[in-house]
Symmetry: C3
Subunit: 152 residues, 3 copies
């Protein structure tokens, strides 16, 4: 079996998207970050809640400026203009004054993506952590920031 150039191109584009996502998620620039999702996308953090649409998704990114988002190997499947991905992630804590920098948790991103005129974009992203999410929020001192986001 030889993968064709379209698959190889899609594979590399999605990996570049994952890298860009991590950088924008780290930066706390929620608006730029939310552009990596399709309009109407859903971002579900298991144990927390589902953020629907770019505005809510941007607010979740803004709540976590002390997170370093690291991803490694994806399993990627492409079906025309749709793709799915299971992606290993590592969460690292970084104090803004660089006084602390610790491994926090491993987890998965389970993604569905769409090909758009701007390139591949996430339209369903699900995060599953390998540590109780309340322990993760505590380690990163973001419990209050995320509590403020909970839908009434």
């Amino acid at each position: 079996m030889t993968l064709d150039i379209q698959f190889l191109s899609d594979y590399v584009e999605i990996r570049q998207l994952n890298a860009l996502y991590n950088r924008l998620a780290d930066s706390g620039d929620g608006d730029a970050y939310a552009q990596l999702y399709t309009d109407g996308a859903e971002f579900h953090i298991v144990g927390n809640q589902t953020y629907c649409g770019r505005k809510e998704i941007a607010s979740a990114a803004n709540a976590t400026k002390v997170t370093v988002h690291v991803t490694t190997e994806p399993e990627i499947e492409i079906d025309g203009d749709s793709a799915s991905q299971r992606l290993r992630m590592l969460t690292v804590y970084r104090a803004e004054d660089l006084s602390k920098n610790d491994f926090v948790a491993s987890g998965w991103y389970l993604d569905e993506l769409k090909r758009t005129p701007d390139g591949w974009r996430y339209y369903r992203r699900r995060v599953e952590l390998d540590l109780d999410i309340n322990a993760v929020f505590e380690k990163m001192a973001v419990t209050d920031s995320f509590a403020a986001l909970v839908k009434k």
Copy 2:
């Protein structure tokens, strides 16, 4: 120099195999995991022992349900239907109840692979850890599980 499409295809297929390997190794589904090796493959864990053939390899996978297998950048060489790989790995501990999730050790996978009708498969995999392996087993509380596997 420009890499040809066959090399690029093999490179991506082997990276996808590494991702699938990590997922199946995490899951504790030893039988599915062992299918990623050729029949008659050898899996050598330095400081522990060599597991020969899919049945023994499956038993090693079943002993480590609390391990998160993470791999990052490989150096891959292809020679026709054979390939070799040096792959950086990180071992993370994850309690089944999600109460603990810690970095345990870094290490290497040193692999030889064969192209088969089902895709690339490992036929020699060697794990070298950067921490004494008994300390690794203790951190993950799997000392007894692995002791039970030792060949008489």
Copy 3:
């Protein structure tokens, strides 16, 4: 958009270079490591200093035999025979007797590369750590080794 084979080839070659770099940086073989830079390259460690040319760059590599260099997803841009890369890195400590093996810090490599007859090479590499660099040097017990390198 479909990436062309030249881009895909360059992308894979740069990832292979990153993997080779990490291995040679770990090994403490400064001379082999320095060959991955162009002649006249600059390696800037933020908070430490800039190493200019292969001889100084080799000396920096020789100071850190207890470091495991891990990199994950790059964002790569190619412009003819030049490339730039933002690359997530993780620094892990490994005692030479394998008695300790700990996560130390995350950070970035910010790179500029040139296409050469030997393949892609770094000519500007900048390291930014997410932990105060003196804390990193202390955790790895390399404060004295790096102090000895400081230009008078």
